[in-house]
């Protein structure tokens, strides 16, 4: 919690324009700054960026936690159901399809968000339809991955035929960015993430039982298919929204739940879920701070930083599991 506050503060302070420390303090306690440029930078760029780091970090981590529990697979993440592939296809269609057909009005910022959301929710519908019919969780996992791969293949085709300029915008989108969400869209982003988080919180207790085994959940009177339906719905809202607004951000969703489990040494989701949200927000802030390269005007792609930070965690988990089981 403290880390979140400190990191938020550091995040506000970093960027290509350096802002004096007293100004920053004054801004945080709500005073208007003497320098209108600094006021503008903070209010319209850094605050939205910080808030979207909170939202994306929390959303991806919670949805990763849900997937790891539901699939009882330590390497599951927010994207195993193919949500981000759906979002990518939506964005690719808008960026490259628009240039191909000469309709450019869609390719604006809002168009991209809308396209990504549509893509993510179409995949979600497919997954939900499957989840109410198929009982075996491994089959659902495989189908989810197959959907994702198929959708990615279509995206690949689009990329192949896309124009150079649209290809570049698409690649930049896939690199992830926290800065693209203006204040006007932030409320929508926040509303959707909060909806997803509330839905996740409602299903905390069933998640505990589901983590032990489906038969246990069913003989304890839980309706496993219904639980899965709503957990998938929650995950898709969280991961889909985060992807739509910030692009696909890798590894946060896989690594953070493990960090939290290691730190709290419990499988009680009443603890894991809020902890994942807070740690996720903090970790993404940290990634963003590193990506800004404090002291320089350069900004690195967020996704690369998130991967470079997340991969060691995943490797550690794989090796540790090996040692435990062997």
């Amino acid at each position: 919690m403290i880390a979140l506050v400190v990191l938020s503060f550091i995040d506000l302070s970093t960027g290509s324009v350096s802002i004096p420390f007293p100004d920053l303090l004054n801004f945080v306690i709500g005073k208007n700054l003497s320098d209108p440029v600094n006021q503008n930078i903070l209010l319209n760029f850094r605050v939205p960026k910080m808030v979207s780091a909170w939202l994306a970090g929390a959303a991806l981590s919670v949805s990763g936690l849900q997937m790891q529990t539901v699939f009882r697979n330590p390497l599951a993440g927010p994207y195993v159901l193919g949500i981000s592939s759906g979002a990518s296809l939506g964005v690719a269609l808008v960026l490259m399809g628009a240039s191909a057909f000469g309709v450019s009005f869609l390719a604006g910022e809002f168009g991209i968000v809308l396209a990504a959301l549509t893509g993510a929710f179409l995949v979600l519908m497919l997954i939900l339809a499957v989840s109410v019919r198929i009982r075996d969780i491994m089959t659902i996992l495989i189908l989810g991955m197959m959907f994702g791969t198929a959708v990615s293949a279509v995206t690949g085709l689009l990329q192949y035929f896309g124009s150079e300029a649209s290809l570049k915008s698409f690649v930049i989108w896939t690199m992830g960015s926290l800065g693209g969400v203006g204040r006007d869209k932030l409320w929508l982003y926040a509303l959707m993430v909060i909806t997803g988080l509330v839905l996740a919180w409602v299903y905390v207790r069933p998640l505990n039982v589901l983590g032990v085994g489906d038969s246990y959940a069913r003989t304890l009177g839980f309706n496993v298919k219904r639980i899965r339906f709503f957990v998938f719905l929650s995950t898709s809202i969280l991961a889909g929204t985060a992807t739509a607004f910030n692009g696909p951000i890798a590894f946060i969703g896989i690594a953070v739940p493990h960090l939290v489990r290691l730190a709290f040494r419990t499988s009680n989701h009443a603890i894991l879920l809020p902890a994942s949200a807070i740690v996720g927000a903090s970790v993404l802030l940290l990634c963003d701070i590193i990506a800004q390269l404090p002291g320089s005007a350069l900004v690195l792609p967020l996704n690369s930083i998130a991967s470079l930070m997340g991969i060691p965690v995943v490797i550690y988990i794989v090796i540790r599991n090996k040692r435990v089981s062997g």
């Binding site: 009882r72 330590p74 409602v202 207790r205 505990n208 039982v209 983590g211 032990v212 085994g213 038969s215 246990y216 069913r218 003989t219 304890l220 009177g221 839980f222 309706n223 489990r261 040494r265 419990t266 499988s267 009680n268 435990v324």
Partner: protein, 340 residues
């Protein structure tokens, strides 16, 4: 006679594969009483687990009905059913970072609402359940770090904490060593003595026959019900081993592997129990054993006891090779005779 708790009528359990092909087991009727400890016994694939899963309402019956306390099981809500029947599947519960205590706490969920936390009474019940299976000092251990015997005791604690009049367990004694098998059966017997109906499936005939009230013997052509002794005396047990080289020897109370060699060995002298185990060794080597001194026997073993020392003599005369252990006797016979 005790009260009937489970009443099964014309039940066909099984799996439906697709629309046309159905895969099920013969219909049967049976009842389970309050306080009865029942073992379902049968060959692999005869449908023991399927029957238990049907009773646990994890899959619907294909035909027939099951009623509990006089009401068809489909009339209960899932929450009511969770307070009526606990089912421990054969696949162990796996969850990283879940302590024994946290795990057993889950068994109280059917008594609490969606957001209601467990009451003090719930925590008492959980502690008592863990204590009653002797796992109190393991309460903070992770369930993934338990031995098979410890885990199975935790599973029983789970069923106790769920506090249901019916406990179903799929193969509770699989993978356990002998003392743990008996311990698990003792704990289940304890639950039955409290008036609960306990139904388990098992391949472990020796433990089951020693400790349960009733055997449900599932055969390819239907179900046979009886006390373990009834099942043995009526020879029903041998229908379990039809078309196999194994049979149940009523006299010795043991399962015997039928050899194809028809060779006769005769054992004479010595105390009854020494004769019994000497015969056991000879049977193991493929002999039929005669205890009356048949002159046609291929092998003749005399047992002599002098000053508390037992000796085995191979052959009829006095100057025959003498051995101080059954192992040495067997090694000698194996060297002398062909085809052993």
């Amino acid at each position: 006679m005790s009260r009937i708790v489970i009443d099964i009528k014309g039940l066909v359990s099984g799996y439906r594969n697709g629309k046309n092909s159905a895969f099920f087991y013969p219909a049967f009727n049976s009842v389970a009483l309050a306080g009865e400890l029942i073992a379902i016994v049968g060959r692999n694939g005869v449908g023991k687990s399927t029957l238990l899963r049907t009773l646990a309402q994890l899959q619907p019956p294909l035909e027939g009905t099951v009623s509990i306390n006089g009401s068809d099981i489909s009339n209960y809500t899932t929450a009511e059913y969770a307070r009526l029947v606990s089912f421990i599947p054969s696949e162990p519960a796996h969850a990283s970072h879940t302590s024994v205590y946290e795990f057993v706490c889950m068994a109280r969920y059917p008594y609490r609402g969606w957001f209601e936390s467990l009451s003090n009474e719930d925590h008492h019940i959980v502690s008592r359940a863990i204590d009653s299976v002797g796992m109190m000092k393991f309460r903070s251990r992770y369930i993934d770090n338990l031995s098979d015997g410890e885990r199975q005791r935790v599973m029983i604690a789970f069923a106790i904490a769920q506090d249901t009049p019916i406990i179903l367990m799929d193969e509770p004694t699989a993978f356990l060593d002998l003392p743990n098998k008996f311990e698990v059966m003792r704990l289940l017997r304890e639950q039955a003595m409290l008036g609960k109906t306990v139904i388990i499936s098992t391949h472990d005939l020796q433990t089951a026959f020693g400790l349960v009230d009733t055997i449900w013997l599932m055969l390819a052509n239907g179900l046979k019900v009886g006390a373990p002794e009834d099942i043995m005396l009526t020879g029903t047990l041998n229908s379990l081993m039809e078309n196999t080289p194994v049979y149940f020897d009523l006299k010795s109370g043991q399962f015997v592997y039928r050899h194809h060699t028809k060779r006769l060995a005769s054992v004479v002298g010595g105390a009854l129990y020494v004769k019994k185990w000497t015969s056991h060794a000879l049977r193991r080597m493929g002999f039929d054993v005669d205890l009356s001194g048949d002159p046609n026997a291929e092998v003749y073993v005399q047992i002599q006891e002098t000053e508390g020392k037992v000796q085995w003599i191979a052959g009829k005369g006095d100057r025959n090779p003498t051995f101080d252990s059954i192992r040495n006797l067997c090694l000698y016979l194996r060297g002398e005779l062909k085809g052993l």
